[in-house]
Symmetry: D2
Subunit: 355 residues, 4 copies
């Protein structure tokens, strides 16, 4: 019998390893939509990245993602002395692995120009090699011809905008007018650009979060403060490549990274309410009412600006249960601003807790 003890307990030690399994990302679906977790900006050895394309699929699978795009630079191929330039190679290599691991692989590339216009990802393309042309407007035209979703990357990247502030140049206006620009990165790698919220609202563009990974995802986000890599949450009608594409062009996205969510209130509000559930009061005495709020998501919520006599701030920890004690002088619902859910450059989500 002792042997059984040893055998069963032994297994546990071996299964601690986290890299052989797919993680469950705790971010809820919205009513009527499935939430696809996506990273649309990844590099490999076919431009200036340091890993083979299939590595990106394996990382995505373990990280619990639904979709990725490998977006090697068209114009920057520093390894070309050893690896002949082939703008579709990463796509060809990773396609089969993606299918085997049930990852939606979006065919993409990064059009890599000085600012303006800066770097743009073309997603949902057919043939990246046709984008290797000189004139930037010709490149965009070809991408659009292939049905591309054009995404403006890291618009406040200090190497291109030394003050860190994204700016709309004429070429961006032209793209918007032509209907050729579809999204902007709010989060890139570990940075973010508040002004993107204003641009996206003004021009009706999708708010995007990507890792822009050149190295190894698990190393770059190894700090425990990073529960997940940056992810674009896309609210799709179903979990397919085409439904993802439809949702992207329709702008049904939220940008998520660290302890922040950014995007339109129409998605941020139902997202918040899908994450949390407010329990019935479990105790009432002369002075107070006690209840619990359960947050089943990987993102915490920092509630601030409570009404008088109510708690002024409440942190709803990620994957945790928060105990709330409220004076009987106030009545349900409580109203709060959610400090870390940005619905605009200077706006945060307003919510109610009904108990």
């Amino acid at each position: 019998m002792k042997k059984l003890i040893i055998i069963l307990f032994l297994i546990a030690a071996v299964t601690v390893t986290t890299f052989a399994q797919r993680k469950i990302v705790n971010l809820p679906d919205l009513p009527g939509y499935v939430t696809l977790k996506c990273d649309f900006h990844l590099h490999t050895v076919f431009s200036d990245g340091n890993v083979w394309p299939t590595v990106r699929v394996g990382e995505a699978w373990r990280d619990g993602l639904d979709a990725i795009a490998i977006t090697d630079h068209i114009e920057y191929t520093p390894k070309k002395d050893f690896i002949p330039v082939d703008h579709n190679a990463a796509w060809k290599i990773s396609e089969i692995t993606a299918r085997d691991f049930n990852i939606i692989l979006v065919h993409g590339t990064e059009i890599t120009r000085k600012m303006p216009p800066g770097h743009m990802n073309a997603l949902f393309i057919q043939d990246a090699s046709l984008l290797a042309v000189d004139s930037v407007m010709d490149v965009y035209a070809e991408a659009i011809k292939q049905g591309a979703f054009l995404l403006w990357n890291h618009p406040g990247w200090k190497s291109q905008e030394p003050d860190g502030i994204p700016k709309i140049y004429n070429i961006h206006k032209t793209l918007v007018e032509k209907g050729w620009l579809h999204g902007i990165e709010f989060f890139n790698h570990t940075e973010y650009y508040p002004l993107v919220m204003t641009f996206c609202r003004q021009y009706n563009l999708a708010v995007i979060a990507n890792s822009d990974m050149h190295g190894v995802i698990s190393e770059e986000y190894s700090d425990p403060i990073y529960t997940n890599r940056p992810m674009t949450l896309v609210f799709a009608k179903e979990r397919t490549h085409d439904a993802l594409k439809e949702a992207m062009f329709a702008g049904r996205t939220l940008a998520y990274f660290r302890d922040m969510i950014a995007g339109g209130e129409e998605y941020a509000k139902p997202f918040f309410y899908q994450c949390i559930s407010v329990g019935k009061p479990y105790l009432e005495n002369e002075k107070s009412v006690y209840f619990e709020v359960t947050n089943r998501a990987d993102v915490p919520f920092y509630l601030v600006n409570g009404i008088p006599e109510a708690p002024q701030s409440i942190t709803l920890a990620a994957n945790g249960i928060t105990r709330v004690v409220v004076s009987k002088k106030v009545t349900s619902p409580l109203t709060y601003d959610v400090k870390n859910v940005l619905t605009g450059e200077n706006e945060v989500l307003k919510i109610e807790l009904k108990y």
Copy 2:
């Protein structure tokens, strides 16, 4: 704008601390029942423990438990030179804290005798001080008079059974005949006793898991192999003290610790199926069918003894998604033994995966 960046990201660093919040224990309810996570064996400074009673409530709240019993020894009070003996003190001190934190506090004590009969917890009592009498049968009679659930603790504890093997003595038989024995610890602290499965089945007793903690829970189970402390899962009609008591006497329990579940098949089987969900095949080629199994529980499942041509073993990692590739030569469902779900001393749960 930069200021906003700093402020929002700063918060994350502060909220990393895990001890200010209540954890969600991922163990599902059963159809018709709510699963109460319980630890019925805890000590404090009022016997030979090292913490104040309210600490036990705080630990339980953070650990996501629903119910605990503080069970200080009646007969062993080594701190009495400094703390006058009061067998109800821990109960009185922690009762209010438990109510404030929505923890069901079961009034209990440990009747601490040589083997036989060994140590027994009396749970759901009214007054522990009345149990401080010499004759062990008189103690049990008084406990039963108070409505106690009698639980035989660590029956194979080497200090009392040097060979580590639990034995049924005459006094245990007498207790069973009188209907005075209601449960036995299968797991105690970090040990377990396979024979308990046979005793519980033979005498129709509840299978129990407790920590028997004297020190600090978070320190004793700090190793990452311990996702949770030992817990008795009680399948109650609702989350109340009385419903808990009813379920305990009805024997609706499973014992859970580390990567093991032990108890009757009637609870183990639906528990398993509530933990996992099998996805529809996402890929089929000439040779194989591909599908995913999602396990949303904190306990992994080790499937073994697969049918010919199917994977011989599959590990369904805790809170993870497992990819299964099956030859087209076999047809759904696959059958497996679940190596770490014990339904008897030498029996494990048998299950099917339908895809």
Copy 3:
């Protein structure tokens, strides 16, 4: 042979547990002195703490401390309905355990008064019960009569100083004039008070860091940002109770917590140089010289304000090796301010890197 593999590898899993062993705190001795790591402010169930006194010794042993003082409140004993007041009980109970575990146990207590004068620890006393008298000056007189080191605790604690700023009141001046005040806490629990640096310099007092722990050390400092609990580093002639006492009265201390060191330059400077070693250049090309700096201490050093053409800032990670690339335009040594080593309220340590 396979059996050997299993046996040897099995052991590792079991020894992962960190609470059964004594940790090595990596903080160097100073030339001529041994560095004693101390926490002089701890509570137990004998005042408003939640653990038994021996727990404090066990924690200290595991945390790699050399000395502790248990300092239960004289005037605040909220558990007295259950635990009769005995101001020397914690000392009596923990003395033997301390000897068994080679921890220097300093007999202490906390004199707990409103501000002014606030809370004061009396360390190195003989009988705490004699300090239970009304007049605060009488208490201090008795403590001094017993040979006490008087330590002013958390002088900017918001419950007593709502603006968080410590203030010198007349009673403090009187104490200083009489030579009755010997140290002030710069760090308390997770707070610190920059002004303490000015007070300590002005009045020639020891700079102190303590945990003021009421709960469980490992839980309070569980966040990975806390490598160690707050510690007073005392530079003693040898590792004995009496040498510790001599060093304390001589003011040979540094306060350490998180990523900060605070105290007089005469200790901070040699401490820094004992922590780090600068390697010889391993590479030189036309433009640059390359060398490594090894920091063998648990505390990082943030070097800032580098000279022109040298790196403006260098982080010497704790227990790590930092690679430095310097232009050939500059010559050794480089000079830096060490941002996180405070030698005064508004002063930081200035150091040189010779390569």
Copy 4:
């Protein structure tokens, strides 16, 4: 002043990231020798690995290694449709990075043949392309001509030896007779082969430990049970490429992985004594003597088979301090077998603790 608090504490959160610094591997030098930590078996995209060669240098730097060899397969280049075969490419690409990061880069390759003879690494070569010839003996001859150290890799690899037991075939005997075989892997990736100890002793070969990494080191060894990747400890006269080579050919190595050390007693014994220090007794009573043993190495030591009346087994935890209580009936020194330091296939190191 508050601002200072925020600024200083903020920094800590940012520096938690572990991948931007070089780790200190705690493994001591031997008297007269510097201990070089080495991994001589690594793959890149130039054969069947998944990372760019410079990644291997970065990993080695962060992992605290002194030397590595990149050893892509000569005969197996599955990425050749995308990356033209160039057996020296990984060497050329990583050479400059290695110099910049002070890593000794050994020029190597893997001669990849069926068993017998199986896979062999040629280390310290000049031109890998000259090893791309058919006859295996011709390859070895060319390697030897270039001054190679020939290392037999994973001799018990189940893909080549289904029973997992390494075997000496005629070709291995021939190599030994010619003086062309210089070392054998005892540890490879996460496996090890006890019989290698016998082979190495019989034929006077170096005992080697390598990772054989194809993916990402930090992911493969992410489990906390792996303090470090597998390492060959080479006892060199100085930290240079040539001194490393001299030490390798002289067979001055130990193989290290997880909680095990394997190699000749002449190196294992001084290594053990350099790791630990035994303190003077700090307490003596009628029955017992108390002292501490400090182990400053990353490897624990499991002492077993103690003499009568002494502790039968003692675990000297890695980077920890162990308290030993010995009966006065025994006298110093205590003798032990070190269960996890293998000096032969069935032999472990015997040591003394003098207190």
